[in-house]
Symmetry: C2
Subunit: 231 residues, 2 copies
């Protein structure tokens, strides 16, 4: 297990990281084979988890009626969410495509059972939220594995979650962490959609790096860390 | 950006996912070069984030006095945490190595500024916690890139976090999401430490997969998804 990565293997990891996109508009109709779905779920299952708790569950949703009901849920939540914007920002918001619930052939609801005793509470006394964080690590694993399989994934965060839980019959003690849309895509855009559409730009990483304490920032020193890649 | 992954590139992604370990005991003294540190931070910075908010900051800690103070913090939190165990489980707990703060040459505190306006609140009205989740995606990116660089990472969740914030001069409105230890390792264990030491075993993924709704579980059907990899 300690063997170094070949140049191509290492490139694969960075490609997945840099070419992963939050896909909403670009799904195509091609079905997702079971073995591919199995591999991305197994990638998720091999995420780190606090105390080896593995607090996640995965609801794989292909049924069109269920997806249509989730889409209605999104539409209501999105109308509500749009109310905080006005003027040009509202026009920009209204123009954004924020979900692929119906176009993506597979939706995956990822949950966290916060009452699971697996892991015997290790690490959760000082950091109770690490069970949720473990579940997010699983989601990021799935997302990167999906990119390596040429599969796009989008995380829909605009939903009415209590209603979603009732729709999917999720028990009250279980938390929905993410609702994902997955499928093959026409294209992986070179830049994030929200950047291309002018919603937000990428921050300069050198401004987000501190040395030994929060107050010690040195953009020149930080910038030198990133000579090899600056985009 | 839509080019398919070569076999080796795809293998690299899965190797990083399956061979990533939460490292505590196996750090060696070899220094971490700046360009490697820069690459794993840049991998983190290319994580998905809600509304393209990029709410993270990274405090890179190499100073031995700072690490010694964090280690003291851990030791106190760990004594406190051990109190919920008794008998054999306590003996097992006492025997676990749960941090590599002093042995790992680089520690990285990853934070989330929940007040950052970047992203204009997109997606956070219905899911306010997605800023924290975005930060966790950054951590998992860093962790996987580190594996590709033959660098081990361990997530220390047993700390007194308010005290840690004061030690690192982190402003009160900023949340500490993770305290990581990073460095070269003598070995990446084939199995997670907590599994090897008998603390907890890996769950059968087929038991965690549901179809179309929570109540629809079918282990045979789920098992068929995982024919290609079952470990």
């Amino acid at each position: 297990m300690s063997r170094e990565f070949s140049e191509a293997e290492r490139r694969g990891v960075y490609r997945a990281i840099y070419e992963r996109r939050d896909v909403r508009a670009d799904f195509i109709e091609k079905p997702v084979p079971d073995d591919v779905l199995g591999r991305i779920l197994d990638a998720a299952h091999h995420a780190p988890s606090v105390g080896f708790m593995q607090p996640w569950d995965f609801i794989v949703i292909r049924d069109e009626r269920v997806r249509a009901a989730v889409h209605d849920n999104f539409a209501r939540a999105n109308r509500e969410a749009s109310r905080i914007y006005s003027g040009e920002r509202l026009a920009l918001y209204a123009d954004l495509k924020l979900e692929g619930i119906l176009r993506a052939p597979v939706n995956i609801c990822v949950t966290c059972d916060r009452t699971r005793t697996r892991g015997h509470g290790l690490g959760r006394q000082s950091s109770p939220e690490t069970d949720l964080y473990s579940t997010v690590c699983a989601i990021e694993n799935l997302w990167l594995a999906a990119r390596a399989e040429s599969l796009g994934v989008g995380w829909v965060s605009i939903l009415e979650f209590e209603e979603l839980k009732s729709l999917l019959q999720i028990p009250s003690h279980v938390t929905v962490v993410a609702y994902l849309c997955a499928g093959y895509v026409s294209d992986f855009s070179p830049r994030p959609d929200l950047e291309r559409r002018g919603w937000e730009g990428r921050e300069d990483l050198a401004r987000l790096v501190h040395f030994d304490s929060w107050d010690s920032q040195d953009e020149d020193r930080a910038g030198k860390l990133f000579v090899l890649r600056n985009d």
